[in-house]
């Protein structure tokens, strides 16, 4: 459906995209995850035909994009990171315009507008000016504006920036509906939890390069430890032999610092009772136990040596 091969783009001495390749099939949601400045928006802009790459190719349904007026562009819907709306006009006037730029007018345009508004839950506010909308409503309208020509591939460039959790959930619900209709979604974000919730596959980019491209489970497999057990002991050390803990079956790692024992395990449910029993049997009492699960932050940290949020 969408095939991107070895894209490269530089601005002067700055390399924005450096050999990005990815693909997405029908009904698949691919997350493009990376910190600000990683090259996500440039990649999306190249796919949408806004920027010409220095090298590499983009194929939509097996065909390369050829020029500004290539009809294949109808297969793509772009949801820009900015709220690309005319605030002074009503939602309806905005949608009429965005339908018309894809050649839709009359009954076809009305149908498309009604469907898009219904999907994002703004049918009853169609005649309101966009400037009177809340931030979340504008984001939903921004999404609806890209759906009017019924594109097969939806490019979503950080579509939830600056919205409240309720509106974010509403947008996620809309995207899940689209996914269930077989649409291909390419979703850029620097929010790990969004990628975790929505994406079938996640492409992690940093400094314009793809550092990982796999399913969520596949990415977790890149980590030495997926889950960890955190036990706060009553004593500070008191003869705890950390080597013995590491030698327990199913335990990958163990560290003890300031009264807290961290144990990396493969299967949290299976290993937790064993570890706790071993501690009691060896005279180490504890007052609090909690577990931690590895996330994309951990994956990014492991792959790049930097925190995703601090990049």
């Amino acid at each position: 459906m969408l095939e991107v091969k070895n894209l490269k783009k530089s601005y002067g001495n700055v390399i924005a995209v450096n050999g990005v390749s990815l693909g997405a099939g029908a009904g698949e949601t691919v997350g493009l995850l990376g910190p600000n400045g990683a090259g996500k928006t440039t990649t999306v802009s190249i796919i949408a035909g806004l920027i010409r790459p220095d090298s590499g190719s983009v194929e939509i349904e097996g065909r390369p994009l050829a020029g500004d007026t290539d009809p294949i562009k109808r297969r793509i819907g772009l949801v820009p990171q900015d709220l690309a709306l005319f605030d002074e006009l009503t939602a309806l006037a905005n949608l009429q315009l965005f339908a018309a730029i894809y050649g839709l007018d009359g009954a076809a345009a009305r149908r498309a507008i009604d469907d898009a508004l219904a999907l994002v839950g703004l049918s009853d506010r169609a005649h309101d000016r966009v400037k009177d909308y809340s931030g979340g409503m504008k984001r939903r309208l921004n999404l609806a504006s890209a759906l009017l020509h019924d594109p097969q591939i939806l490019l979503l460039d950080e579509p939830t920036v600056g919205v409240d959790p309720q509106s974010r959930n509403a947008i996620f619900d809309n995207l899940e509906v689209l996914k269930s209709r077989g649409k291909t979604l390419l979703y850029t974000t620097h929010y790990m939890e969004e990628a975790e919730r929505l994406c079938d596959r996640i492409v992690i980019v940093d400094h314009g390069q793809v550092v990982a491209n796999d399913t969520l489970q596949g990415l977790y497999r890149l980590l030495p430890v997926t889950n960890s057990l955190r036990v706060e002991l009553d004593e500070t050390k008191n003869g705890l032999r950390i080597g013995d803990v590491r030698a327990l079956p199913g335990v990958h790692s163990a560290e003890f610092d300031s009264g807290t024992l961290r144990v990396g395990v493969e299967d949290l449910a299976a290993q937790t009772p064993c570890v706790l029993q071993w501690l009691v049997e060896h005279g180490h009492s504890y007052h609090h136990v909690s577990s931690e699960r590895a996330d994309l932050e951990t994956v990014f940290l492991t792959l790049t040596g930097r925190s995703l949020r601090d990049s």
Binding site: K9, Y11, A16, V17, G39, T41, T42, T43, V44, S45, I46, A48, G49, L50, I51, R52, D68, T69, D70, P71, I72, K73, R74, I76, G77, L78, P80, Q81, D82, L83, A84, L85, F86, E88, L89, A93, Q96, L97, F98, A100, I101, Y102, G103, L104, D105, S145, A146
Partner: protein, 432 residues
């Protein structure tokens, strides 16, 4: 391609009409300023032109000085009030009077004596506001004429001329510088004047009129050359042309800034993601700008027509052609701003400055004849000058369609140059 093109044009027009600031800048402000300037520049030709405030200080109180003040007071261009020397100086310094004319004691007597001889001439003091040098020159000219008439009238009337003539005869007789022949000629002249004034006093002239001394040997018939005879010049025509040119160019700036804002707000990405040619994207913007500019010109002149009687005295087709050409040039100007500008904020200030310069050079504020010669020649490369020329030719000058050809051609030429530059320099790609 027509559906997107039409929709994009319609969108721009819709945005214009929902933008109060745009409406204010395109209609309310040019109408207000045009009305004001039109009034100041003489209005519709049927109002009293403003008079120059003049103070007259008569320290002589002679027949001649009273006659001078009387004649000054009768001048249409002057508003004359009596005053004292101190009050007059203070008033001119404060700017409440433009000129003060101070007639010194014995002016009448000394001026009469100086009329036939080269003896020292009495002096009239003119105090003037240095910020009104043109008015000073005008008052000086009027005063010269009035003094000549007042003094000659007195000199050629028997009662007061006889002593002056006798004194002059005595001086001629005593003169050692004059040769005999010159003395004889002057004595004959003075005797003739004496007899002539005596006769006019003793008997009524055959035609019943009395002598009034020397008079200006001509009168003038003034006619403002406008579209047709008996058509008064309408100052609002020039004022509205100037303001329309200025504020339509401001609309052009808004067109350019609007494109930059669309780029900044991501709308350009949405448009470019659609299968639209660059011609449709830029062409629709240029078309909407030209339509709006044309509409603004027409509405402003319609207001001037209905309220101030500004007529298209020349060719209506020419007026429409000039307006349309100017509108197209404005669209090109707007596109060029969009192509050269980087951020809306930085571009707006620079564009307004550039626009005000070309508007000023185009003669929209002050008439071009006040410019130095070299600057007047320079204005041929300023599009606003051609817009002004064309609009004025078709309105109050009342010229025919052929007079619109050159302004239209030049304006369309500018539009083509701006358009080509805009397309060449337009940054299509939005950095990621």
């Amino acid at each position: 391609m027509m559906i997107p093109f039409r929709a994009l044009v319609r969108k721009d027009i819709l945005l214009f009409f929902v933008d109060r600031r745009a409406l204010l800048m395109s209609f309310a402000i040019p109408i207000a300023i045009g009305s004001f300037f039109g009034y100041v520049l003489g209005g519709a030709g049927d109002q009293d032109s403003s008079k120059i405030p003049v103070l007259a200080v008569d320290q002589d109180a002679s027949n001649i000085s009273r006659e001078i003040v009387k004649r000054l007071s009768g001048e249409k261009a002057l508003a004359v009030k009596p005053s004292t020397p101190d009050e007059a100086r203070t008033a001119v310094r404060k700017g409440t009077a433009t000129v003060a004319v101070v007639i010194p004691p014995n002016f009448g007597q000394n001026a009469g004596r100086a009329f036939f001889s080269a003896r020292e001439k009495p002096q009239i003091e003119m105090l003037f506001d240095p910020s009104h040098t043109a008015e000073r020159g005008m008052v000086a000219g009027i005063l010269t004429g009035d003094v000549m008439q007042a003094v000659s009238k007195e000199v050629f009337s028997a009662a007061s001329s006889q002593p002056m003539i006798e004194e002059s005869l005595s001086q001629v007789e005593k003169s050692t510088r004059l040769d005999a022949e010159d003395k004889k000629s002057l004595e004959d002249l003075l005797h003739s004047v004496s007899r002539w004034t005596q006769r006019n006093t003793d008997s009524t002239r055959a035609d019943g009129s009395a002598s009034a001394g020397l008079s200006i040997p001509f009168t003038t018939h003034e006619e403002a050359v406008t579209a047709r005879r008996n058509t008064k010049y309408n100052g609002y025509a020039h004022a509205f042309a100037g303001m329309v040119v200025q504020f339509v160019l401001f609309l052009g700036i808004d067109v350019g800034i609007g494109l930059l804002q669309q780029r900044q707000r991501g709308l350009w990405k949405r448009f470019r993601a659609a299968p639209l040619s660059r011609g449709v994207l830029l062409g629709s913007r240029a078309a909407s700008a030209a339509i709006l500019a044309f509409f603004v010109v027409l509405v402003n002149f319609l207001f001037a027509r209905l309220v101030f009687g500004v007529r298209v005295e020349g060719s209506m087709a020419g007026f429409l052609a000039v307006s349309a050409s100017f509108a197209v040039m404005t669209a090109g100007f707007g596109m060029l701003i969009a192509a050269l500008g980087k951020t809306p904020e930085a571009t707006r200030g620079l564009s307004i400055f550039a626009t005000l310069i070309v508007v000023m050079l185009g003669g929209a504020w002050i008439p071009m004849f006040l410019f130095p010669q070299w600057l007047q020649k320079l204005t041929v490369v300023v599009p606003t000058r051609w817009a002004m020329d064309g609009l004025e030719a078709m309105t109050w000058r009342g010229l025919g369609l052929e007079a619109a050809f050159v302004p239209c051609a030049v304006l369309l030429g500018f539009a083509a140059v701006f358009g080509v530059l805009a397309v060449a320099r337009f940054r299509w790609e939005t950095e990621g």
